[in-house]
């Protein structure tokens, strides 16, 4: 492509992207710093009075600092469940890809059905109750793991298929146990796809709204998405605070994205697409 054409196309893309993608975020930010009356108009206008600090303080202080608790809960939930999805998913994918038995077909089907079948909410509550796990963070963590495993396994399996078997064999000849083989040889090679799984799944878990709503009732158990409720009730919605809250809870995924930006595509190249 010639230089002027490149520049034009670039400029055009930037303009389009500003309209399509940047304007909505500008709207969120602007509404988040308005006063309540102007925010309630929900229009795209310049704030007549900037009160970012006021709004921020109100959001953080609301309901005895529930947002802080929610952040702690969400971070634990995300870190623990994604860590488990990565390790357990890779273990399953490893054996599933390497060893073909007559069960393989069935296991593949079960994994795929995890992606297809909509989780049955009420029966899941029922099982959690029987297990004494209902209404606690551990219960929700397990639920998130169960619902997220399929996607992780599929990504890992595709990638493990590209790792030569000779590597396993060499390690076994050196006397490596299965655990050692997996954690010392295979797992480190999965780096790029692990990044993909981490990014995709943590965004999914952190932004999950329905599962915490169903499986984690109770004030001290709030997760960040549920804090949106605090500013949105049947009779009265404080839009400036609602949008400030949206802004705040977008920060962690954003930081993670900036951190992993480069590796995301690499991981996708390696995992999801090939195989």
């Amino acid at each position: 492509m010639k230089n002027p054409a490149r520049t034009w196309l670039g400029a055009l893309s930037v303009v389009v992207s500003v309209v399509v993608f940047v304007v909505p975020f500008a709207f969120i930010v602007l509404t988040a710093v308005k006063d309540p009356q102007q925010a309630a108009q929900l229009d795209f206008s310049w704030p007549r009075r900037f009160q970012p600090v006021d709004n921020l303080v109100q959001v953080v202080e609301a309901r005895d600092y529930i947002l802080v608790i929610a952040f702690i809960n969400s971070v634990i939930l995300t870190v623990v469940s994604v860590a488990a999805m990565v390790v357990l998913g890779a273990m399953v994918a490893f054996v599933l890809q390497r060893r073909v038995t007559r069960w393989t077909g069935l296991i593949n089907f079960l994994v795929l059905s995890g992606l297809i079948i909509p989780p049955a909410v009420v029966p899941t509550i029922w099982v959690l109750q029987k297990a004494g796990l209902f209404g606690g963070l551990p219960g929700l963590i397990l639920v998130e793991i169960a619902f997220g495993l399929s996607f992780s396994i599929l990504l890992f399996r595709a990638f493990i298929a590209t790792i030569p078997r000779e590597l396993d064999e060499a390690a076994v000849i050196d006397g490596a146990s299965p655990l050692r083989l997996f954690f010392r040889v295979i797992f480190p090679m999965l780096r790029s796809v692990i990044v993909t799984v981490i990014v995709v799944q943590s965004v999914a878990v952190f932004n999950d709204f329905t599962n915490p709503l169903y499986f984690l009732p109770g004030e001290q158990n709030a997760t960040v998405q549920l804090t949106l409720f605090n500013f949105q009730s049947q009779y009265n919605t404080s839009y400036n605070l609602l949008f400030m809250d949206i802004l705040l809870i977008t920060v962690p995924p954003l930081i993670m994205f900036l951190f992993f930006n480069r590796q995301i595509v690499a991981g996708m190249t390696a995992g999801a697409v090939k195989g």
Binding site: I28, L88, A146, R165, F209, G267
Partner: protein, 310 residues
């Protein structure tokens, strides 16, 4: 992208055969079954058991406090839901529109963002960014944008003399508007998958095609499109499953309204759950599961076969 992960290793058939011979004794030790165990326990108790339990509960009238067996009544009841027939049609429309647009836009953006364009880094980030924002936040924002009289979209249209429609309030448009927002939010992931697919096409193909005198269109038609097929099938399957099960965004934006005009199967199910009709809601879940399976499994097979043929 220079930080490419390992390329495909040689997968010689002779090696496969040799491996198969050695399999019986040693593989069990090297690849032990207990690696399945932790995942299987969690997945089994919290996903499979509830799924099977739902088959039973779908045959009962279930207040959360007690359940009464009523046979297939829930299914008859569910199919009599005023919103349901419409819900099925809407579910298909929504899934097809969102996954179709994600494929087309994802592919175009993928090509654009792998070319030597200016501001590529910025564009890649900005396209992916909506993926990070919570669905509820996106829903609230776009509901405000699509307001027929005060919303940004119609104000902008009015500025150029167009009388914008009631995006979310016109019964025939509401579902389509939500689908567009879904595409807006999800196209970043599709683009990333396409970028990954396109950058993994070996340079030799481009060069060979260029030597043959292929123009940009032929390059696209004969190299990029067929060789990024795995990416296409990934995007189709993921967004179709997402689209068929989709619920969050529709709920955040229209709650299935106006009236029942943008209800999909998942939102009908959720409404039954909300109203406390747990048996009925579970029956709906079973129906949705059957429908999604009936569509996705054959499609996945078909796409996989096509992939092998290429």
């Amino acid at each position: 992208m220079t930080t490419l992960a390992p390329t495909t290793p040689p997968k010689a058939t002779s090696h496969e055969a040799a491996a198969r011979q050695r399999r019986s004794g040693r593989t069990r030790g090297t690849y032990p079954n207990w690696f399945y165990l932790p995942a299987a326990v969690i997945y089994g108790t919290l996903f499979l058991v509830p799924t099977f339990a739902s088959f039973y509960f779908s045959l009962t009238r279930w207040t959360i406090f007690k359940s009464t067996f009523i046979g297939l009544d829930n299914f008859t009841e569910f199919f009599q839901e005023p919103a349901l027939v419409k819900g099925f049609v809407n579910t298909f429309l929504y899934a097809v529109v969102t996954s179709g647009l994600k494929v087309v836009l994802g592919l175009l953006l993928g090509i654009l963002l792998t070319s030597q364009i200016r501001a590529r880094g910025y564009l890649r980030s900005v396209v992916f960014f909506p993926v990070l924002v919570s669905t509820v936040g996106v829903g609230i924002t776009f509901t405000a944008f699509m307001d027929p009289s005060y919303g940004v979209i119609n104000k902008a249209l009015a500025a150029v003399g167009i009388d914008g429609p009631g995006w979310l309030t016109d019964p025939s448009l509401a579902l389509f508007s939500v689908a567009l927002v879904d595409v807006w939010k999800g196209v970043g992931l599709a683009t990333v998958i396409y970028i990954a697919g396109i950058v993994s096409i070996p340079q030799d193909y481009y060069e060979a095609a260029k030597i043959d005198g292929a123009g940009p269109w032929q390059l696209f038609r004969n190299v990029v499109l067929p060789l990024s097929w795995p990416a296409t099938s990934t995007v189709i399957i993921l967004s179709l499953i997402g689209g068929l099960r989709s619920f969050d965004l529709i709920w955040a934006m229209t709650r299935g309204g106006p009236g029942f005009s943008s209800d999909v199967v998942a939102s009908v199910i959720y409404k039954q759950y909300q109203a406390g009709f747990y048996g009925l809601s579970t029956a709906g879940n079973v129906v949705l599961f059957l429908v999604v399976t009936a569509i996705v499994v054959p499609l996945a097979r078909f796409l996989a076969r096509k992939e092998v043929q290429r």
